[in-house]
Amino acid sequence: MHSNSRYTLNFKGTLPTLILEAIAHEPTHGYRIAQQIKERSQGVLDFKEGTLYPALHKLENDGQVESYESVENGRPRRYYRITKSGRKMLATDRAEWRQLSHAVTAILGEA
């Protein structure tokens, strides 16, 4: 993980999209979502895990995520799964991100 704060991106606006992506394939619990985001970004997208749940609640209030209780290793855990409206939002966000990414790459050039 990058310790330099320059690489610790403030990605507050994209966190809901990353959460939706993390649960797009299978329902999972909060801790696993946080780990997935960190692992898949190879530590670049570091964030404080206490802020994950407010984002999950917001997605749930907006109907993009559903939650349910399940037992894992004898412990009750709250699992989150994406809804139909969540999938739509994820597809839109993904398209917008690609467009933005292309535009920035066009200006800055390929790495």
Binding site: H29, G30, Y31, A34, F47, K48, E49, G50, T51, L52, Y53, P54, A55, H57, K58, E60, N61, G63, R75, R77, R78
Partner: protein
């Protein structure tokens, strides 16, 4: 008090008891997973606990974010008051009847007075009757979808403004101080209800939240 308890106390400040319980459950679950993962990697019990707390971040920041998405104790109080009021009306059929008869009587009298040519009084009764209908006729209206609720609320606001304009006529602007003094509690409750609507999924809205 453990470090986790201290973190949770700060993170759940001003949240309703249900919201606080929810936060406690999910954060404790998360903390345990993070702590176990650190122990598996070979950290000592103390280090594992410390790193799990550090990963959660600042409790005050989390509290600010939680208060934006979960009910606070003040909002929960307004929600309970609304439920009590609705319950009080629903439990008394005579009260329901009175609430319906009052606007109906005002509208009927207005129509009679119009026919007799007393236009000024008839107009007053018409505005009064319509306002009473919006205020008291609510339990009888089929408002159980978010879009209907939105239409009803806008009608209610327009009726309130129109009643004020009608009562004070040309002097309405002079009486804005009276309006601000009397309307601000209504405005504050409406504002809080709007916040509650954003925080609860529509499926979980109690009846009075539609109005």
């Amino acid at each position: 008090m453990t470090q986790l308890d201290q973190w949770l106390t700060q993170a759940t400040a001003k949240l309703s008891s249900d919201s606080a319980a929810q936060v406690r459950a999910e954060i404790s679950e998360h903390y345990e997973s993070a702590r176990n993962a650190a122990l598996v990697k070979g950290a000592s019990t103390e280090e594992a606990g410390r790193s799990a707390i550090a990963a959660l971040g600042n409790a005050k920041t989390a509290n600010c974010q939680y208060r934006r998405v979960l009910l606070t104790s003040a909002e929960a109080k307004i929600l309970r008051q609304g439920q009590r009021e609705t319950g009080a009306i629903c439990a008394r059929p005579w009260l329901k009847a009175v609430l319906l008869v009052l606007p109906a009587a005002a509208l009927w009298s207005s129509a009679v007075l119009f026919l007799r040519g007393s236009n000024d009084l008839a107009r007053t009764l018409l505005v009064g009757g319509l306002t009473l209908l919006v205020a008291f006729g609510v339990p009888f209206l089929p408002i159980y979808t978010a879009s209907r609720a939105r239409i009803f609320r806008w009608t209610k606001y327009v009726m309130l403004a129109a009643t004020f304009a009608f009562v004070f006529g040309k002097d309405a602007m002079m009486w804005t101080w009276l309006l601000s003094c009397t309307v601000w509690p209504i405005f504050w409750i409406e504002w809080t209800r709007n916040t509650i609507r954003r925080k609860l999924p529509v499926a979980n809205w109690p009846r009075h939240l539609y109005l």
